[in-house]
Symmetry: C2
Subunit: 197 residues, 2 copies
Amino acid sequence: MITRREETGLVIWLTGLSGAGKSTLARLLEEKLAATARRVETLDGDEVRENLSRGLGFSKEDRDTNVRRIGFVARLLARNAVVVLVAAITPYRQSRDDVRRSVEDEGIRFVEVFVRCPLDTLVERDVKGLYLKALAGEIANFTGISDPYEEPLSPDVVVDSSTESVEQSAAKVLSLLEEPRQPAESSKPEAQVRAQM
Amino acid sequence: MITRREETGLVIWLTGLSGAGKSTLARLLEEKLAATARRVETLDGDEVRENLSRGLGFSKEDRDTNVRRIGFVARLLARNAVVVLVAAITPYRQSRDDVRRSVEDEGIRFVEVFVRCPLDTLVERDVKGLYLKALAGEIANFTGISDPYEEPLSPDVVVDSSTESVEQSAAKVLSLLEEPRQPAESSKPEAQVRAQM
């Protein structure tokens, strides 16, 4: 249970396609966690890119560099008792796996939240008009259209913004935080797959 | 007086030439501050460059980008009650001034420490053998030799590693932290100079 300011921080990493609802969920989680008197900081993909990775593009290499930088900052905050919410597409499994390991190596809990939403629904919603452009071939390296998204094999939580309200999704994440930390987290299937490669 | 973990964080920014003693002083300060039960984090120039700015060089533009990134991370930490020690050459006055303003704009105290050491002494010491190489023209953009260092016009503290022990320097910085924050900090001469430009 996370209630006191003195406890260790943790990293809650929201991964999913553009428009799936990562930032919306992060905002609600931030609000609810802040109300428990915890220190909370949200690292939102776009904002972090502007501040830490201007000049980087969307090739696999540049995306990986960006994720490593977010991971570095998240670790610095979490080891100083901050609950860090990261909202970033993070399309590559290996990259998410690496960041999880770097966080857990410091004894910090890492919670991977897969913010799922079917592509059809995203194209239909297309809040920012990006899917239309990507489908027309006007945006290169657009995750889900012209660039891969590797779904998490064993995320800690799966939420689905096409079937749940953001309140329901937030409740799922928060209820996980109330559970004691699993001792066998490092032997999760996703980590095992990686270790065997 | 900084003793309780609940208080606001602050940023202590050590600027000075390579080899002047920034990292050594930062380490001692970290030790002493951690002993007061404060959360302390040191952002050391080389380490941060590796984690946040790999690929950037030492042109004025790249140095400024690097300093902005350090400033961004320092702010995130300090607004979560961490005492942040930055040890980075930060040769440009404008760049230090910008980072001070961005920190103070969030209501966070910024303490600029000028770690002075005469160039002669640095060349004589030349711990890493870099000055010899720079003087031989083998290192481009080497601060103090082939690249400028703009000394602070009104730092909060000046320490001098050629005349003081690191213990004495640390004591100077710590005694400043015990003083109440100056209300007129934003109208420091250095800031005024910038504002008039």
